[in-house]
Amino acid sequence: MAEKKVSLGKEFTKGLIKENPVLRLVLGTCPTLAVSTSIVNALGMGVSAMIVLICSNIVISLLRKIIPSKVRIPVYIVIIASFVTIVQMLVKAFVPALDAALGVYLPLIVVNCIILGRAEAFAGKHAVIASAVDGVGMGVGFTLALCCMAAIREVLGAGTFLAGAQDLLVLFGDNVLGGFNGFTLIKEGSALSPMTVFILAPGGFFTFGLLMACANRIAESRGKPKAELKGCEACPMAGSCSIRADGGACEDGKEEASA
């Protein structure tokens, strides 16, 4: 595989805005919707996924010349699953409250398409340092998008901001920052009550839809195309997928793009 010269700064910043994995590439929608009920959960999920992404990008990039291309997907999955297991154990040991909050979504980082997608689209073709930087950029972009969504949902849905911050701060010792545990914006018994629907499932879809509309608006004002569900281009399984040839889901994507 030919290796392109890449500028590290560009690799980092493209993940933040231009190719934001959640809002522009529409990858990793499941964890985005599921854990963005509070900023603390979103931050925990984002950082866990980022660690897995960076480590797996580095290892896959190191092994890219050894892995035969026919079995690369299973190999990538094993590498990613190993790092997910490590992160899972670390979270269980050091931040148990986060493990309880994220539940099944923590092991499900394995099938997060951002990670397999980056392995396939970037780490398998580029040198180690560029891949690591790509991992950091994409990870930070993912975390930013998650926190953005979580901030909206938490403030509107629960009336709090950064609630449960001690769950994460426990990493740095007991009662850091004077036992800071978030702000309560809507006090109990006040005339206002939070719109609970925002932290439930429908609110997740709704917030994500509106955020994506905003991202499209910004992209258009800069003359960029709007985000489409590029299921196939971004999907790591694109190579072995025959829906593409049969004109199922992917054909739809093309129609949308041309419309």
């Binding site: 529409v26 929608t29 499941c30 964890p31 919707l33 599921a34 997907i73 299973p74 999955i77 094993v78 699953a81 190993s82 997910v84 297991t85 899972q88 154990m89 099944v104 092991p107 499900l108 394995v110 099938v111 997060n112 398409c113 397999l116 629907v197 439930l200 499932a201 429908p202 609110g203 997740g204 879809f205 709704f206 994500f208 839809g209 509106l210 994506m212 509309a213 905003c214 499209n216 608006r217 258009e220 709007k226 985000a227 489409e228 569900l229 299921g231 999907c235 790591p236 399984m237 072995s240 997928c241 025959s242 829906i243 049969d246 199922g248 889901a249 739809d252 994507g253 949308e256």
Partner: protein
Amino acid sequence: MTAYFAILLTAILTGNFVLCKFLGICPFLGVSKKLNTALGMSAAVVFVMALATAVTYPINKYLLVKNDLEYLQTIVFILVIAALVQLVEIVLKKFMPPLYNALGIYLPLITTNCAVLGVVILNVDEGYFAQSMFNSVGAGLGFMLAMVIFSGVRSRLESCDVPKFLQGLPIVLIAASIVSLSFMGFTGLVEGLLGL
């Protein structure tokens, strides 16, 4: 028997994987544009979910738990699912060509479907075989229900005049939000119906 029925109904309606637990969103948004692709994809998901649970349950109970290797669950399960999907594809292609033609093209996509790995991991936490099987079939049927309903909603959406910046994915997500809202109406249904 009531307990099994309750598991099934919970998995299909009140705890719907797509609309309440956010698992399997990628195919939900990507393959739900036409009714026949939505049906094919969800039939393949039901099939693989049931099979994956039937295979991973004994592996977990008699191999991993017995040897104190529970920490390998994630790695083992994803590998088992990947291998299983490949195997099913080969077997169907050889022995059941009509079924392969209907489901085959969706099978490679299922390896990385978080609903399948999700149901397997959730089942392991609960731990009984029959209950697990009912839960996975229910989860698969719930996925199918959500896909079918949503493909209907999307076909209506096609002919709507949508504001410019909501066109494409945003309006689809907002439609999903409304479908999900309607599923919230099922809250308490299982308890009420079966008198639990």
